[in-house]
Each structure stands twice: as structure tokens, then as C-alpha cells.
């Protein structure tokens, strides 16, 4: 069994006349947690959007389990959980409704664990209140609850810990470590100092771009 998941070859991307990254090559294997580092504006979010398949403004090749991303997009989306800048939560819907809608988009979600997941992110008792009554952090937690429901092996998380308190961060981090242990892969950006330290592979965009 190959443990290779995602292979990025010769990625080139420029934005507003500025080269963000060039000839960027790396691999993501099963059981790895990769943290993308870099200053503001170094292209962390752009990179994650490219990897998720949202942004197509790049040159180069991305392979998912040996197959070019252009040819296996549906399969790739099935194995991907993406957490973007916006949490993707409808303010007028309740956490339960929001997550149920996610399940209609990702049919392999464990919807039966919904209450458990919401309890894990500290939202038990808030299952049926509209999300606009919740705080920003709680809204992001609703979206993070997907991590407990999903079966996707690859997680791409853009600043998942923004507006989340310390205890929440520790719990999410533990979840990521467990996910990696079970053979999943995580690619994330964060400004938090992560406790799992040595288990993480770091990828510094500043060094790669030679701007630092």
C-alpha cells in the first residue's frame, strides 16, 4: 500500500505582479500533519485554495494518489475536508441544520454522531439555536464539528483556530493527531504554537520563495 497522498509538482502562482511561489514541490503522505508557514501575504491561503481545487490560477501539476487532479476531481472532493477563511455557516440556520446540510453535500458523513460532535466542540445545548446568536468562535466551532463527522482522509484547514479559545485549540489538536495516527493527512495554517511540535512537518513559504 502506498502511503503517498498528495504530490505537488512545480507549482507556480503569481498574484498582482508578484510571484507567490515558484517551482514549489512537496508531497503529503498518509499520517502526516503539515503546517504551512509564512508572513502575511506569502500566499498561505492561496496555496490551500489551490490544493483544495478552488483556485485554478496556477501552473504546475497536482496528483492525488498518483492521478492528476484534473482527472479525478470528484474522487478527490470525496476525500477532502476543507475549512476555509469563512466558516461556511448560515447565520439563520441552527448548528444542527447547518451540519445536516453538509451531510447532504458529503453523503459519507456520520450524521448519527451529530450530537456527539457538537458536544465535543462545546456546543451541547446550542444545537437548535440560530447561529447568528452564537459568537464568532462558536460559529467556527460549528464548522469544526465536521472534523468529528467526516470520513475524509485529507483535511485542509485554513486558520482553524482563529477565535477559538485555548482549551478548544488543544482538543482540536488532539483530534488532528488522532486523525494522523489513523492514517489521515492534515494540511493547515495557523498562528498558534502547536503543542504536537515534533510530529508536524513545517513548510515555510518565505524560505521557498526566497523573500526572507
Amino acid at each position: 500500500m502506498s502511503t503517498l497522498r498528495l504530490k505537488i509538482e512545480n507549482l507556480f502562482c503569481e498574484r498582482d505582479d508578484r510571484v507567490l511561489f515558484d517551482a514549489l514541490c512537496f508531497e503529503v503522505n498518509a499520517g502526516e500533519v503539515i503546517q504551512i508557514e509564512g508572513q502575511n501575504g506569502s500566499g498561505k491561503t492561496t496555496l490551500l485554495r489551490i490544493l483544495s481545487g478552488l483556485s485554478r490560477h496556477f501552473e504546475g501539476d497536482i496528483y492525488w494518489q498518483g492521478e492528476h487532479l484534473d482527472h479525478c476531481a470528484p474522487a478527490y472532493r470525496e476525500s477532502l475536508l476543507y475549512f476555509g477563511h469563512q466558516p461556511g455557516i448560515k447565520a439563520v440556520l441552527t448548528p444542527r441544520e447547518n451540519l445536516r446540510w453538509y451531510a447532504s453535500l458529503h453523503p459519507d458523513m456520520h450524521l448519527d454522531r451529530l450530537d456527539y460532535a457538537l458536544a465535543q466542540v462545546g456546543l451541547s445545548g446550542f444545537e437548535d439555536v440560530p447561529c447568528h446568536t452564537l459568537s464568532a468562535g462558536q460559529n467556527r466551532r460549528v464548522s469544526l464539528a465536521r472534523l468529528y463527522l467526516s470520513q475524509a482522509p485529507l483535511w485542509i484547514l485554513d486558520e482553524p483556530f482563529t477565535a477559538i479559545d485555548k482549551r478548544g485549540v488543544a482538543e482540536q489538536e488532539a483530534l488532528m493527531a488522532a486523525h494522523a495516527e489513523q492514517g489521515g493527512s492534515v494540511i493547515l495554517t495557523t498562528h498558534h504554537e502547536l503543542a504536537m511540535g515534533d510530529k508536524i512537518r513545517r513548510l515555510n513559504l518565505d524560505q521557498l520563495a526566497g523573500t526572507l
Partner: protein, 242 residues
Amino acid sequence: MSDSMPNRPAGDVMNTECRVDGPFWGALKRELLLSYRRKSDLVNPLIFFLMVATLFPLGVSPDPAFLADVAPGVVWVAALLATLLSMDSLFRSDFEDGTLEQILLSPQPLYLVVLAKVLAHWMLTGLPLTLLAPLLGVMLFLPSDGMWGLMLSLLLGTPTLSLVGAIGAALTVGLRKGGVLISLLVLPLYIPVLIFGSAAVQGAVTGLPLGGYLALLGAMLSFGLVMAPLAIGAALRISVSG
């Protein structure tokens, strides 16, 4: 992931709760629920529809004979503008809160999700407009023979308006000044629907057979149903990518 999660609710208790909707029904239900929670968005196009139709007697002439003459066109133009008015928000709120990204990253066929969204939009604007149209017909002295033609033509024509408008909405979703732009892009494309729609009403008033017009409107609708979601999906991927 392991199956040994604690606190796992017993399957039979939560059975109905756990049934996952397909992409089409999931999206449709969500849209309807969303607009149910924001009722004001629902009635605004209808009020607009009514107001535009009121402007004509005030602005041109309250003469019943004249109004009866222009009624088919006025009702159709008002319906067209009312549809356009609500079009801009179709994808915008999804774009702003990040749910559009999640839709695009779903393994489910985008075609179905988009179709569900457009269908929901039609159910919340086109359908009420159709039901409200006889009221406008009465206000504008449309002969009662024309009422059925009016309602049937709106019933077949407004879904096409929603489908075509959604293409414009998808193309402008990432832009701040999308509202005006969308009318500019979409209005020329609305012209055939307007022509055949108002002609159908006129035909009904004068007692001509309607079948031909309605068949043309139906043909445009079925063509739109097949092609428009593809264009909308492509436009959404492009807009979000930028």
C-alpha cells in the same frame, strides 16, 4: 476513523433524524428554510412587482382601453424586473459566508445543487408572481379572457427567467457592484421570453390559439433546464477561483 466513538446515539432512536438528503433535496430544503427565516426577502419582489405595475396608469394614462392594450406587456416587464431584483442575492450570501466554497468542493454533482437553488428561487419569486398576476391584470383592465394566458405564460416563462438570471448572478458573484451589472448582462437575454410571453397574453385576449406561444416558452424552458445549470456551474467555479 475508528467506530469506537463514545456517546454514539442508538441508531433506531435517531433513525429519521439520520436520513441524509440527496444533494438536490438537501439544497432545496435549505433554500426554502432560509427564506422562511428571512420572510422580508420573500415579499420584497412581490411588492416591487405591484408598484411597477402601478406606475403605468400614473405615468401614462388611467384610460381603461389604453391600459388593457398595454397590460400584457406591462405585467411581463414588471415580472421580469422583479425576478431580476431578487437575482443578485441568489449566490451572494453563500459566497460571503463561505458556503459556496463548500458547495463547489462537494463530491455531489454541482448541476443538481445549482438546479435546486434555481428551483427554490423560482418557487419564491416566479411562482408567487404568477399567482399575483391576475390582481395586476384586474388593476390594468386586462380582459378576463386574457387571465389564463397571463398565468400560463408566466408559469412557463418565469422559470426560464430564473435560470438565465442565475447565470448572470453566478458571473458577478465575486464583484462588489454586481447588482447593476447583472441587469446589463441578463436583460438582453430575457427578450425572447418577454416577446413570446406577452404575445401569449395578447393572443389570449384576442381569442387566438395559445398553443404555439406556450410551446415556444416550454421549449425555451426545457432548453434552459438542460443548458443553464452547466453555465451556472462553470461561472461559479470561475468566480470563486478568482
